[in-house]
Structures are given as C-alpha cells and as structure tokens.
Symmetry: C2
Subunit: 707 residues, 2 copies
C-alpha cells in the first residue's frame, strides 16, 4: 500500500549507523506498519480522479475570466520572487518585524506600479495575493479617496499630488476611544477662531482620543480628522479637517500632538493602528475639507447640499459591497485548506490491517465542511450581485436619481453583517475541523481568522448593521399596512404579508426539497412572519405608532436582528440560486460543473432549513414530516457532493502562494510541509534552545535537593 | 454630568502653551461635549449600587470557601511582585520571549513550593493565576503521573526522585504527525532485540514523527514514548517506553534523535510543543514501563491485567472532569471582562443633549452576554458535580468495583465536548460583544480565546467524544428494547422511551416556563426522541442489528452527535438546577444571591429552548404557542437579570491580576487603562517608530516623481 514516495521517507529516516542486523529487525516491524500506510499525495491524486467535472471553466468564471485567472498565477510567481513578497517566514515574525515587513510589502507593490511592472488592476490582485496589510492601508483606502470625494478643487491641488507621490502619508481619524458606531457622539472639537481664521483642534476628554485609524501609529504624517465643528460656541456636528501630525524632516509628533500605536491586536498587526490627541492644535481655515459643507472666513456656516448626505451613504454602501465579496473569498480560503486536508487526513480503522478512513468520509466532517463550501460559493455570487446592484445605482446617481439607495443600503447593511458572520464563524469551524494541526499557525488557518474577524466589529458593528436592515423592513411593512406597499425589491413580500402568513410549504417528499423555489419560499415565509411579529411587538412597546429609537426600539432588538438575518438569508439564497441559473444560461461554464454548483445551492438552503427548523415549524409553515424530509435531503446532498469536494475548492483557483498553508497545499503533501516549516522556525535556530544557557542549565545541573 | 475624575482628564490634556483666549474658545466647545459625558468608573459604581444582592457569600461558595477566596487574593499579590509573575508586558512578547518567560514562571512557582512560601494546594491556584503555561506543563501533568501510575517500583525508584528534583525534565510523547485520536494507528515501533535485551525505537514514516508533546521542543531531556511493541515480528500494540533524548551536559539531541519545536501556534506559545523522530534508537529492557504489561528478558509478553484497561479509562475520565471545571472558569473570565465593559461602555443617544445608552441596556447585548453568564455558572456547578461523581467512583474502584465507570465515562466524554465548545464559542462571542476594543490584545480576550480553544481538539476531539456518549446511549436504548433496561443514571430515560415519546409539554403560560422541571422535561424529551431516531436510522443502515463501526456508523455521525449533545445539555441543565437547589438547602449562601442564580437556571434553559425550538416542535412536544411563551419568558429573564449582571460576574471572585485586562478592570476605568497599556507597547519605544530610518525616511524625502 505504501507508495514510492512513502518509501523515500523511510530510507531518509533509516540512513543511520545501525548495523545490518538491527536494520533487519526494525524493517520487519516497519513492514507491518507500512502495510496500512498511504501517502497523502496519492490520496489527493485519487480525489481529483474521482470528481464529476473538470474545474477549468468554473475557475475562470469565478475569477473573472481565464485571462485574469492566468494573470493571478503570474502575479503570484512574480510576488513570490520579491524579497518583501516571500512568505516563508511570515508566521515567525514578532510585532515589530510584522509592522516593518508589511510596510515594505506595501511600498514594494507601490514600486511595481510605478515602474510599470504591474497595472493598477494587477495591484488590486497583488494586494490580495501578498495579503499583508501595512501602514499604507488607509492612505490608499481612505485618505486619498476622502480627498477625492470631499476636498475642494484647490484642496485637491494642494494635497493630492503629494499623497500620490508619497511626499506625505495620510490616514482617516474618525473613531475615538469611547466612540465607534455613533458618529454624532464624537467628542473631538474644532473651534473656529474668527480673529485668526484658524480652527483649533482639541481633545477635551480621555475618551475623545482618536483610536484605531490604520497607519496612524507610526507611519502617517497627516490625518483627515473628524471633529465637531464649533463656530461662536455653536455645535455644527462632525466635519473633516486635514491636520499635519508629524514633522516632515524628523517624523516626530508636532507640538500639541500625542500620537502612537494602540498596541498588539488579535491579528492585522502589520498595520500600526494608532491613537491621537490634540492639545489646542491650530490649522488654517483652508484645512477644513470644503467640497460640500463650508465655513466662510467670516464664520458663516454653509451647510452641504441635501444630496451630499445621500452621496456619503452611497460610499458606505460601496464599501459594504466590497466586504460581502471579500467574505466569500475569505471563507473560500479557509475552506480550501480544510477540505484538502480532510481529503488526505486519515483517522481510525475499524479492524487491524485496514486502511484508516479519510476524515472527509465521516458524515460529521462532511457536515462541518461542505455547507461552508456552499456558503463560500453563495457569498461569491452575492458579492458579484451586490457589485452589479451598486453599479446600476451609480448610473442613476450620476443623473441625480437616488431612488434605489434605500433598498441597496438596506440589503448591503444586513448582508455586510450576515456575510462577515458566516465567513468568520465558518473560518473558525473549518479550522477546528482540522483537529490539532488547525491550531498551528503553519496551517494558515489561525492567521486567516484573526486577520479577518475584525470585519464583524468594524465598518459598522454587525448588530447595528442588521438593525438598519430591520428598520427598513418594518418601515416597508408599515407602509404596506397603510396601503402604500410596493412589491418591488428584496422586501416585496411586505406588500403581501397577510396572504403569505396563510401559505404552507408545498413539499410532498424529500425530493421536492431539491427545488430551489421550494427552499426560497420557506425563507420568504419566515422573513414575512418575523417581520409581521417584530412590527407588532414594536408597536406594542411603542404604545401605538411605531417608535424607531429609545426604549421601545432598544428593548426589542433581539427580534429585530432575527428578522434582518432571516431577510438576508432569503436574499443570499435567492441570489445564489438565480446566479447559478444565470451562469447556466450564459453557457461559458461546462454543464457538469454547473450541476455540481447547483447541488451546492440545495445544500446551502437545506442545511439552514434543517438547522433552523423551529422558525418554520412554529407557525406550521412546515410540518414535522417536511422537516424530516429536508434533513434527509440535506444528508443526501452531503453524500452527493462528497466526491466533488476537492474539485469544488480547486475551482476557487487559489494559489499555494496566497494560501501559504502547510495543510492546504494543492499537492496534498501536508506532513512534509508541516515538518519543514516547523524546522525552519526561529526557536529551532539552535539545537539546545534559547533558554538552555540562562534558564535551564543552572537548574538541571544543580545539586539534587529534597522535595 | 461630568465627574471630578473626568475633569482631571481635561486638565491633563489642556496643560498646554495655548494662550488664555484660545483656552477660553476651546473651553466653550468642550463644555458642550462634557454636558453629556460620564466617567466609566462612575457607571461602575452605580452598577454595583443597583444589584439585588451582596456578592460575598456566593463568591466564597464558588471558590471553595471564604478562606480560599482570601488566599487567592493574597497569592495574586504575591505573584504580581515576582519578576516572573508580573504580567504588564505579557501581551508584547514575541515567541521566544514567551517561551523563555513562561519557563521562568514555571520554575518560579516550583521554587515557591520548594522554599515553602506556598503549599502544593496554593500552587494549583498559583498556576491558574499566573496563567502562563510553559515547558514544564507535561513534566508535571503527564510525565510524573505516568511514572506514578505505570512504572514498576524499581522504575519509580530510578526516575521519580530525579523528576521531582528537576534533575531531568520529561514529557509524554503519544500523538504523531499523522495520528491523534486513533491510538492503535500509531506508527512508531519498538522492536525487542532478544540478543541484547534492548528495545529499538524507530520512526518508520514521516507521519510517525511524534508531534505536539508539550515541552518536547527545547525543554525536555526525557520522554515517555508510546510505540508499537514488536517481539519476533509480532505486533503487540502501543506500549510506553522511557527514552532519554538529550545529552544531560550539553542539552544536545542524543544520536538517532531528531527533536525540535513544532513552530508558532494560535496560542499557548509559552509551551514548546515538539516533534521527535527515532532512528534505530536503543533503550535497555528496563525502560519499558512495566507495572502492568511486561516483556520478560527472554521476550515473552505478559499482558496487563484486565482491570488495567479500566484503570486507564478512569484516568482519562478524571482528566475530562478537570476540563469541564476548567471550561466554567475559562468562560467566567471572558464573561467578566465583557459584562464589565458593557456596563461602562455607552453608545448612541436618541437625541442631542442626552447621555448615551449603556450597551448592556440594549436587549441584543444582554442576549449576547447574559446567557453566557448563565452557561459559566452552569459549567462551574457541572464541574463540581463531575468531580464529586469521580470521587465516588474512586471509592468503589479502590474496592475493585468498576460498575459506575461506563456511565461516568459516557457523561464526561460528551460533557468534555459540550463544555469546551460552549466555553470556546462563548469566549469568542463575549469578545465580539466588546466591539473594536475586544480585538485588542490589551482587552485580554483574544489571548484567553486562543489559549483556550485548543480544548475542543485536544484530549479527545470533541466529535469523537460526543460519539462515545452516543454509543453508550444507543447501547442503553437497545438494552432497554431487549428488556434489559434500567432507570439508573443520566440515561435512565432510555428505559421508558416509548412512554416519553407520547408526552407533551405541560406549560400553560409563559410563567410556567420558569419551573426548572418544565425546562428539564423538554430537554429529556428531546434526548429520548433523538436517541430513538438515531438508533432506528443506525439499525436501518446496519441492515438489521446495530453495527457500531464502519460505514453504517460513519455515515450517521451527524444524528449521533446531535443526540449526544442533546443528552449532555439535559445533564448540564439538570445538574445546574439541582446544584442550585442543593446550595439553597445548605444555606451558606444568602437568599438574595440564590434568587439571582436561580434566575440564571431559567435563563440557561430557556435560551436553549428558544434557540433550538425546532427540536421540540418537530414531533409536537411543544406547540408554537409554547415556544412563543418560552421566548417571551427568556426575554423577561434577560430584563430581570440585567441589574445583577455586574454583581453576578463580581461573584466569580476573579482578581484583576488574573484577568490582566484593560476592559475587565474591577474599577471600570477602562479607557485610561487601554491608553496606558498602548503607550507602553514596544512599537512606541521611539516616537518616530522602528521603520522611520530604514524604510520611511528614504521614501518620504525622495524627489517627487510622476504617477
């Protein structure tokens, strides 16, 4: 049973000084062991051999075309060759090395663009491949975009060229030590000094200290600071100011500025998230970003046009669309690693002399991993769809039409929450499914999780996001109840709620559950019911007409969040099913691949229906029998997809370079990779270890004493 | 609204060079901000003022008495003063510093025992308080205990004194790169050389490399290695051998030994988990641990007495009982931090000029945290109960009576899985409930999680543990169905399954759900139903009489795991309810504290019933109306417990020293603590940062180039 490759290992380990008689003795024992041994690489080859489809057309589709997929491969090779792009020591870095090397990587990509080795489009992919966020993240992602969107033409002329040529590095300082989500509560003040025509930035409390901005700690020379504008003692709320914070020659903080790194984090330690306080810091009048709101030199406040509020909503919506797409890829990475490892990992034989079982053949492992695989696909399609929705909106917006914004905002706020929660929880579940080795950084899985999981609490805390969606849904239902309902958009069901509540699931057999329409109908029914019930509860708590704030709202957020999540699952499932149908219609992906992905749609739907059956049973939409059928069909989907598991992760098209995982290697040679990476780790630099001389030796060689 | 302490901050930040006119301008703005500002410490004081009970008697009870609680406080003070016990830089250490300092801490505690500053009982607490596992973990926890339990008297005389005086350091090497759970599959061989009367240890494949043993990497000089014993080519399965691996003078690996650290991990990096391979390594005949199984010098195998198997089961069971207890404390720590922070953290005011809302007053935050608080209490009581069960068994065992072992094993295997999953998931949920600051290592929460979460995959993977419980339950039901049932033990319901399936929940109102017996009955009904269904499915898959292995078993593990989890939740809930009743009867805890903990029992039960309602609705045990009542009552429990939230975490009696958390401080002064800890972090050692000279300066001062 042992392959040739397996025997090479044995020879390698046996090349000792042992005499022939000893070798013969040991070989006799070894042969017994080797009779039930198989090389992981051979398992992986066999896995690929049994798949029902060729991955190439699907991989191309998921990656934006064959050319793009090939380009990603070329970029991975290119980046791997750069000193700053080599990942082989990534998991060994301490905090300081992480910060410095991440900065070098960011500058390295910047240089590749500048010397035209790669295009701007390549750079987007390169950042994902290198996967090492550093001190320039917010310079690129927030400082420059904020100048582009909120600075006046004069201001852009002043700062943009410097920002684009790295004569200065900026970040965006909004969040404070005591204020995240609630922007109106920011405490930093910007008081206008009429006499000098300057703003005085000040941090009046400890909790007003700016906290979190990426690159603020040690990298940035400038910030866009959000501060409450005061003119003649009157509070005009948060506005944006460009503030230089470090001396350009020495990089030391300017007078009145206290700035530094906020310390080590769960992950993302390449970025120097920072703190910042202002002690009566003056900036000239022209440093308030003035494309929309303005203060005249004489201290007259000119409010922004009404459309500006909507435009800034649109920016948030765009960010959330990118987060949804990112969630799919993040989960895809963890699932790729876990599925590949589960295919080559063998544990437990029922009888001596049998090969051990591939862990993916245990139903519980399949149930741990394959629904996550389905979720990753669902999120990728949702991400594409969200982007398409956003682009459609942009066309309207450029003609002053913001009609689609509320729907887009509602869907993408909740979807930001659902997608990042599914991805984070799924990444950790995938890690645990790898057993002990998933705990090693060398698996790649812990770092993927710790870097990613901040997504559930940043860019809008997930609970707050879901509550925004809930607010929209309740308003839609109230409008419908007042005779102003409309069937449009994802919440069209609110126009038809009373009829929907009387519906019952049409499934007459386990097989009927394979119809995506039957699955979607269940999700729709649940969302409708929860919307009606949450609205009723809220109305009762409001003592009549619904109040969307204060105690009535705050005391009913559990049901509201439950509603929003149910709505988003409906949207996610429908979008997945519709997207697969559309992909099939486009005919660029081969039919067998489509067939496999279609099974994932059912697995996605049925795994949720089976696990959350109570929501469908409570009002009798499903009978106990129908739930049993759904569960049975869910198990059948697991079995049906088992042979395609490796092919379906291969189709994500992720490179070994990007994954940087001993367990997730495409070739399945996981154990050799683990051992090699372990041996290279810094604690193994000396055989005796770093504690021998100073700590252990004095103790072990002490004269024996009595206990 | 601003307290005196708040104003101190303002003065501190305002001590600048600004002229009086500027200061007056800024003060006018600041006063507006300060009108809605409150100091966290003041919130914390108010929280303690509103609790319905005094914590002292409950804290004493949970910690084993007032004296013990006080001793813990003294130990915390003592440890904090030791150079190796000071935690102020703990979150800044890189891997190597972590390894070295953890080893120093382990040796430090060892010395305190030796110089009689602390007792052995103190040392148990001290290890928990210092909370810095290092290279001696398995020397203390496995090597010495294995010698005590499995070595012959002669062997003990040889190795124990050296181990106890640290003349050698040992570890326990069982797990291999390719073999964790399935011990029979170990590949390391120990071939007996009759001529020389020696065993030859050998690693015949890469996957046979020993992997994971704590302290193996760079600390241990000896191992107890589990290897398959071969005599005259015959395989006798895994046995234990003492093998010296390092030269006692130089600490270098001995000939034929390849050993090192397995590299960085998610957490637990103070421990040098190691790898080890043998290349024809000889040890003398007397190095096979020989208290039970033996090999005579002439090569005759003497099998262990039958009771030995049971005894080694008992050891595993004991370890699992300690894990259950540990799960309660682990969750208690994270929940203490998160609840305290949620009490002082304020976010969002409905209207300008209002104080922002304490986040614990949002229903969803309460729903995130208070059920976890209830789980922590449930697990602490379960841990005590599990230990009591184990001690009762020990008395029987010492008289050769192993009758209680199967029940004990079944309960504690599944409970190991349930408790560590609840604790791990709860710790991460508590972390996320803290928003952005939960992502900072300075909160303490990420490290608590990453250190702890290995519990779900080590000491028996949780799925495997639950399957052991499921096997027991199915066997009990089959016995009952064959007329050999018994009502005893946690699975007594199997004797009465048919009648139970006809039962329906008696609740007639939301109020009825407050009866723990009504809650327990629901959990019992679910376990019974799932047991009957899983057994039926398994029998069908087995084609008749139930097969507990191979394809029939492996293809039905999802339902079996579901059954085992349901069983363990029943046990956990009943034990919690019974323990609180017992505590009330003992009368050492004051009545108001008992009342608060009793509410936690209901919260615990109802939160699960509400969230997993489908399991109770599917066969009609609950009606939709009853589920609605349960949910309503669950929400009421959240409200009822809200004022006692801080008191209930205070009652865990955890010291600030142990928590080492900026967010979990007893005094609530979280923001000052975060800022202080951030400023002390190594990246802030210089104002300009470590990347300035070498990386940033050359770039920022470059002549401007075109983009």
């Amino acid at each position: 049973m042992a392959s040739a490759a397996g025997l090479q290992d044995v020879q390698y380990l046996s090349s000792s000084q042992a005499d022939e008689r000893t070798k013969a003795l040991v070989k006799k024992s070894s042969d017994v062991v080797l009779a039930t041994h198989i090389e992981p690489r051979d398992d992986m080859l066999a896995e690929r051999g049994r798949a029902s489809f060729d991955i190439s057309s699907l991989a191309a589709y998921l990656n934006g075309g064959l050319e793009k997929l090939q380009r990603i491969g070329e970029l991975a090779d290119l980046l791997h060759e750069q000193s700053w792009g080599n990942k082989s020591r990534r998991y060994y870095y301490g905090r300081q090395e992480t910060y410095e090397n991440a900065l070098k990587a960011a500058l390295g990509i910047w240089d590749l663009i500048r010397n035209k080795t790669i295009t701007m489009e390549d750079a987007m992919e390169a950042r994902k491949l290198v996967d090492f966020p550093g001190g320039l993240e917010l310079h690129i992602g927030m400082f420059i975009p904020t100048l582009l969107s909120q600075a006046s033409p004069d201001q852009q002329a002043e700062w943009l060229p410097k920002a684009l040529s790295l004569k200065l590095i900026g970040t965006y300082a909004q969040t404070e030590l005591g204020h995240g989500t609630f922007v109106r509560g920011l405490q930093t003040t910007a008081s206008y000094d009429l006499d000098k025509q300057e703003f005085v930035l000040h941090t009046p409390t400890l909790t007003a200290t700016k906290w979190w901005p990426g690159g603020l700690g040690k990298t940035s020379t400038h910030v866009v600071a959000m501060a409450r504008l005061f003119i003649r003692g009157k509070d005009y709320g948060p506005h944006a100011f460009v503030v230089p914070i470090r001396d350009m020659a020495t990089h030391l903080p300017l007078p009145g500025i206290r700035v530094g790194d906020i310390g080590p984090k769960f992950g993302y330690n390449g970025v120097d998230n920072g703190f910042l306080s202002f002690n009566h810091v003056r900036v000239p009048h022209e440093n308030m970003l003035a494309r929309f709101a303005k203060v005249t030199p004489e201290g007259k406040y000119v409010p922004p046009p009404a459309s500006n509020q909507k435009a800034s909503y649109a920016t948030m919506v765009y960010v959330r669309a990118t987060i949804v797409e990112g969630a799919g890829w993040a989960l895809a990475r963890s699932v790729t690693i876990a599925v590949r490892y589960a295919a080559v990992r063998r544990q437990t034989a029922a009888h001596a002399g049998e090969l051990e079982v591939q862990v993916l053949d245990y139903q519980n492992t399949a149930a741990d991993l394959l629904p996550l695989l389905a979720q990753a696909y669902a999120l990728l399609f949702m991400g594409k769809s969200g982007m398409d929705m956003y682009k459609e909106f942009e066309i309207d917006r450029d003609q002053g039409n913001f009609d689609k914004l509320p729907e887009l905002h509602a869907v993408l706020s909740g979807m930001k929450a659902l997608s990042t929660t599914l991805a984070s929880d799924g990444m950790e579940a995938a890690r645990r499914a790898c057993g002990g080795h998933g705990y090693s950084l060398l698996s790649g899985l812990p770092t993927l999780f710790t870097h990613y999981v901040q997504n559930v609490t940043w860019e809008g805390d997930n609970n707050v996001m879901l509550l925004q969606t809930a607010r929209y849904l309740v308003k839609r239902l109230l409008a419908a109840q007042a005779g102003q309902g409309s069937p449009g958009g994802s919440a069209g069901y609110t126009a038809n709620a009373a009829a929907e509540l009387r519906q019952r699931c049409p499934a007459q057999s386990a097989r009927d559950w394979l119809d995506p329409a039957v699955q979607s109908a269940a999700f729709r029914h649940r969302a409708t019911r929860l919307c009606v019930e949450a609205t009723r509860t809220l109305a009762e708590a409001s003592g009549g007409s619904v109040v969307f704030e204060g105690r009535p709202w705050n005391s009913n957020t559990v049901d509201l969040i439950r509603l929003a999540r149910a709505h988003c699952l409906l949207v996610l499932h429908s979008t997945f099913a519709d997207s697969v149908a559309k992909m099939a219609a486009e005919a660029s992906v081969a039919a067998p691949a489509i067939a496999a992905v279609s099974k994932l749609v059912s697995l996605f739907g049925l795994s949720f229906i089976a696990r959350e059956a109570g929501d469908f049973l409570e009002d009798g939409y499903l009978s106990g029998q129908q739930v049993e059928w759904a569960r049975k069909q869910y198990y059948r989907c697991l079995s049906a997809l088992r042979p395609d598991a490796v092919a379906l992760v291969d189709a994500f098209g992720l490179t070994d370079y990007q994954l940087n995982s001993a367990l997730g290697r495409k070739d399945g040679d996981v154990y050799r990779a683990l051992l090699a990476a372990a041996q290279a780790s810094p604690l193994n630099e000396t055989e005796e270890g770093s504690a021998w001389d100073s700590v252990l030796k004095p103790r072990l060689n002490k004269p024996r004493s009595k206990m």
